[in-house]
Subunit: 93 residues, 2 copies
DNA sequence: CTAATAAGGTTTATAATATAAACCAAATTT
DNA sequence: AAATTTGGTTTATATTATAAACCTTATTAG
């Protein structure tokens, strides 16, 4: 049995990746609403995905308020797809 | 986004359940080999699945050696299938 | 015979993870 | 000008997973 990438095998990180797979880019607030997570948790998990090179994070300003925009990288897409493949072998889908 | 049953969202427990979905029953040694886990880890995770009512565990003797036989319950099957459904919504499969 | 090794586990300790709580700075509202 | 909101980050805590140590009975080797 192949290993399930532990970086993706986490509910919140998987949710983030799932959203970013479908959306080109998403900001912090949007991700927070969609995933119904706390800001702290989201912040931490975004950092981890970013450190792994699975997403890019741009911190800028929208008007006078901070704005954090995330999008998935090619590496992230690849990792996500591999994760799905391994998972399929567990679930026999 | 629905919650992923945390009891199933664990690599080793998922592997155990996946095996038991396909096999009617399996003993400790078989599960250990198939999952390539350590005995301690396997023992703990089997207990958790058993406490949750997802599997039944019969501890008996095979000749003069102990033998632990596991099989999935109806509740376990249901939980596993629900888990898959939720997961599908994450992965859009 | 008895010392060592193996089989089949369980219990306990540790490392990793996820989550929540507390906090911060700037802007807005009262 | 005090209180609240927005958009976060950092730190502390609780949970989880994992590994290491241990136990009991059997078997094998010397």
């Amino acid at each position: 049995m192949k290993e399930l990438n532990p970086l993706l095998h986490s509910q919140l990180r998987l949710a983030i990746m799932s959203i970013l797979m479908n959306v080109e880019e998403a900001d912090f607030v949007y991700l927070k609403e969609k995933t119904e997570s706390t800001a702290g948790n989201l912040s931490v998990q975004i950092d981890k995905l970013s450190s792994a090179g699975y997403i890019t994070v741009e911190k800028g300003m929208s008007g006078n308020r901070p704005r954090t925009i995330c999008s998935i990288t090619d590496e992230g897409i690849k990792a996500f797809e591999e994760y799905i493949d391994v998972l399929k072998s567990y679930l026999n889908l």
